[in-house]
Point group: C2
Chain length 267, copies 2
DNA sequence: TAGTGGTCTAGACCACTTC
DNA sequence: AAGTGGTCTAGACCACTAA
């Protein structure tokens, strides 16, 4: 009945415990692998595995030449539907993503968003959302949103050409799509957004995403599909966001539906 | 300028490619580790690491004595707010979680849910949601929901004693909380639910959760906090769900808020 | 009991970061 | 150049699963 848990697991748990206890503070360095080997904690591979496990759990960061360091726990950024408030982008000149930042007490500085507009053939999900045949032409506006130097998520909006041709959206300038952002541009073009659907699911990142978002090894992403409609049900924007899973929380408020009572509530 | 990507990564990518291409079908077995060692793909540790990477990516399952097998891709279960439709639990005798299953075309059989009711001291999050002091007494109704033999999520509801004492909820019988489920019981007790807030975020599972939900190594969970209110704003239920991240998608429909226009909408 | 994955070691050598 | 993590090997032995 000897211990059945692997040696590396025990080691990892010991340090994990100490980190959670605060015996190791964020920023502090763990013993070097070679030290622990000499201290008789196991072979280099064994200790390395333990450290890798901690890294996968998001507790530490390993860098060559620097050492293994306790990660600061980054606070969650909460995203509620209030970030789409019309008052923000219609009347002022805040953009939704800036409103997020204001709400969380961070300062805004321009160029925290890189933008790239192109005309592409609609991928399946995009075509379906817009009710177009697959491969139809759409405009794609891709952004990488950063908080300071740290990238937090990507967001790619897809528009039907007839909705945006000739607007500022099609002008590929870095930064928000001019005053008020994309919804303001649509509004000025006669498309007032009215309701939305957001769908979320978690998945493993692609290698490209892991690099772009600077994900720690083992970290998942949350993919968000946002479909935006006008009052008559026309889809004017379909957007896909990829978020580092550990850095966000989503919040939704809604009425409990009652299909027996509500007759004029629609869909 | 020799290859800088590790050997194990290359190996993993090769198989990953073939799995995605369908050259390996779900259920099919990959070459055994020892075979690949003999074929000169590297040492046992190296091949093992490659396989481990594939497992962490959710592509294969490794089991001793059985081999390394391509995982069937389980379809996402979509959760929309329609699952709370009052008509389902007030007029019929469906329960919300059963409605999910009906919606996704699966059959229902009893005892797919284990239930455990107890009176506990409110943890911080629960106390905050209910507006109680931390450590106040609440009823906790914990369920482990399964789909066939596969556990999919846990769900723990917390109630204030004065709302549920003397109702069927407090009776710790396995299975749904009687006809219509928990919301029906509250309804019968004079608390009609009106609106909800759901908050979601992803995180690394605890060791216990990993075992309980039979998560594959490296898989994350999504934690859901659901707060249910009556029309006057009283919180009648606060529930915490822990879901295997790869098996669920959430969907929310909402109106674009307009704080400048809507005066009587309230929060 | 045979089959197959899992852990561990000792030591060599590589690769990135900091000085 | 020195420091620190990352990869790789060959082989021994352990642990779980299925027949």
């Amino acid at each position: 009945m000897a211990p059945k848990t692997p040696k590396w697991r025990d080691l990892a748990d010991r340090f994990g415990e100490q980190i959670r206890n605060g015996e190791y503070e964020p920023g502090q360095q763990l013993p070097q692998i070679r030290e622990l080997v000499e201290a008789g904690e196991g072979s280099k591979e064994t200790v390395h595995r333990a450290y890798k496990a901690l890294e996968a759990e998001g507790l530490v960061t390993m860098t060559r030449g620097h050492g293994t360091v306790v990660r600061p726990k980054s606070p969650l950024k909460r995203l509620g539907i209030a970030r789409y408030d019309k008052a923000k982008w219609r009347d002022g000149d805040e953009v939704a993503f800036i409103a997020d930042r204001v709400a969380s007490g961070r300062t805004y500085s321009r160029n925290e968003q890189t933008q790239n507009v192109s005309r592409v053939k609609a991928p399946a999900a995009v075509a379906e959302a817009h009710g177009l045949p697959e491969g139809a032409d759409v405009y794609a506006r891709a952004r990488l949103v950063k908080e300071g130097t740290q990238p937090t998520h990507t967001l790619t909006s897809y528009y039907r050409p007839e909705h945006v041709e000739g607007t500022r959206i099609v002008d590929p300038t870095p930064g928000p799509a001019g005053r008020g952002g994309g919804f303001r541009v649509l509004y000025d073009a006669g498309y007032e957004i009215d309701h939305m659907r957001e769908e979320l699911f978690a998945r493993v990142p692609t290698a490209e995403e892991a690099q772009l978002l600077q994900l720690s090894p083992g970290e998942w992403v949350v993919e968000l599909h946002r479909t935006t409609y006008t009052a008559d049900g026309t889809v004017v924007e379909f957007a896909v966001g990829v978020h580092a899973a550990s850095r966000f929380a989503w919040s939704y408020d809604f009425k409990v539906p009652d299909s027996a009572a509500t007759e004029g509530e629609s869909k």
